[in-house]
């Protein structure tokens, strides 16, 4: 019953789309059926899995590298007020620059290929993750830090036993939002810097013979995988050790 309304919404949308395409004189976009057949065709050619894996591979590495840098850096800056004040203007200046603006530089440094794309995902993820972590550290209850120190924890133990668990709920929200950004960026990066992946599929399908059914198939796949990534991150929010950080259920 929980799925009834959402499914109805999707079916109505597909119907609306179908009718619109069928009744319009020119070709606006392919019909939903053509798009689905496009996906089937990709699967038959073996491109479906290959492209999805390629895109996910880039996102995974870029995003993980960003997490690995951003969380320690964010904890450090969150605790070290003077460092944060010194570095904050730079972070604020970098923030409004779209990761896509870095494409020429990524290609200059890494050439056309996976590494450039991974680097762009990294850039797109590292800043929001760092800022989220800094914020989360600032929001730690003073009494929790004081209690940790009272029990004689060393700085390392304090980070592991108090700071990390205390920031986790907020960090997971930031991670979820950032995965969304990373997924947007990978598609764009693949349109320019590489020759595989879902972003590449879309430009390639258009360039090689105006296969708009494949363009829309690619769009549907991008949307569906984005939703799955979001659900995966949401699952983290239900871990027993972080549920305290969200509104009571």
């Amino acid at each position: 019953m929980r799925h009834f309304l959402p499914l109805t919404g999707i079916l109505l949308f597909l119907l609306f789309w179908h009718v619109l395409v069928a009744t319009s004189p020119g070709t606006l976009v392919p019909s939903p059926l053509q798009a689905i057949l496009g996906i089937v065709e990709l699967a038959e050619k073996g491109l479906l899995v290959r492209y999805i894996v390629a895109s996910l591979f880039r996102v995974t590495w870029g995003y993980l590298a960003a997490l690995l840098i951003a969380v320690p850096a964010g904890v450090l800056l969150g605790l070290w007020r003077r460092g944060e004040v010194a570095i904050n203007p730079i972070l604020q200046l970098l923030r409004p620059i779209s990761p896509l603006a870095w494409i020429p530089i990524a290609i200059l440094w890494f050439g056309v290929g996976d590494l450039a794309a991974v680097f762009l995902i990294f850039l797109a993820s590292v800043l929001p993750l760092t800022l989220t972590t800094v914020n989360a550290v600032h929001n730690i209850e003073g009494v929790h830090l004081a209690a940790g120190r009272n029990f004689g924890l060393t700085t390392r133990e304090l980070v592991r036993s108090v700071i990390v668990p205390a920031i986790l709920p907020q960090l997971i929200v930031g991670m979820r939002i950032t995965v969304g950004i990373a997924w947007l960026v990978v598609v764009a990066a693949e349109m320019i810097a590489v020759n595989s992946g879902l972003g590449f599929l879309i430009v390639d399908a258009r360039n090689a013979g105006n296969r708009y059914d494949l363009v829309v198939a690619g769009m549907i796949l991008i949307g569906a995988i984005g939703v799955l990534l979001d659900l995966l991150m949401r699952a983290l929010e239900r871990l027993p050790g972080v549920r305290w950080g969200y509104a009571a259920e």
Binding site: H144, A146, N150, L153, S161, P165, V242
Partner: protein, 244 residues
């Protein structure tokens, strides 16, 4: 003497909040620091706890100068101090990271029992009531076997019935575990119900106005004339008529 405050003063940006406080606390004694809001009693507790440095004077415990927090003396905050990401058991075991697993298990079981949280070992703080969270924090403090406990208005956020029960619990635990307790409160009745001695502080800058011995054995009868006389004396000392 267990804890000795010698000439403690504290100034925050030109504001003097504590002025020349001298006080000695005996081993195993239960002392209440009583005063109006903003009189610096929490500041005093934070100084003895090692979280703040005094501007003048020094605190010694067992003859040793206090320079920072120390696991031999644990500070109990209002129930906000429990770690929300840990279960009851994990909270109580938090300070036991240097003990063996067997010893840790044994102590956790003992203090779960002592503070009446049996059956809630696996629960998270958000599933507990305010009084239970407060008992949990006391258990976490006791588990590391400190010789002094600092309590900063620990029952302030509880409803009045729970507060009474918690006082009885705390006295029972104090008698069972023989700790020295420094307890900050602005509640006159609470101080006379609990303490061996009540230290009355003046409004800012906080100075010691009076130290009263409460020579009434526990359990204290709240209609005992000695109780009422002491209570009224403190009301008078603070400049309040005992009327509503």
């Amino acid at each position: 003497m267990k804890v000795v405050f010698s000439g403690i003063s504290k100034t925050f940006g030109g504001n003097r909040v504590l002025d020349d406080v001298h006080l000695s606390v005996r081993e195993g004694e239960f002392v209440c620091l009583l005063g109006p809001s903003g009189c610096g009693k929490s500041t005093l507790l934070n100084i003895v706890g090692g979280f703040l440095q005094p501007s003048e004077g020094e605190v010694t415990i067992d003859g040793e100068r206090v320079t920072g927090p120390d696991p031999r003396r644990i500070f109990v905050f209002q129930e906000r101090g429990v770690f929300p990401w840990l279960t009851v058991e994990e909270n109580i075991g938090f300070g036991l990271f240097r003990q063996s697993d067997a010893e840790k298990r044994e102590r956790i079981a003992h203090y779960v029992q002592l503070v009446g949280l049996k059956g809630f070992e696996e629960a998270y703080p958000r599933e507990l009531s305010g009084g239970m969270k407060q008992r949990l924090e006391v258990a976490r403090a006791l588990a590391v076997n400190p010789d002094v406990l600092y309590l900063d208005e620990p029952f302030g956020a509880l409803d009045s019935i729970t507060r009474l029960q918690m006082r009885r619990e705390l006295l029972r635990i104090w008698q069972a575990e023989k700790k020295t307790i420094l307890f900050v409160t602005h509640d006159i009745e609470e101080s006379v119900q609990l303490a061996d001695r009540v230290v009355v502080l003046s409004a800012r800058p906080g100075r010691i106005r009076r130290v009263l011995d409460v020579a009434i054995p526990h359990p204290r009868d709240l209609s005992d004339p000695r109780y009422i006389a002491l209570r009224d004396e403190i009301f008078g000392e603070i400049g309040l008529a005992h009327q509503v």
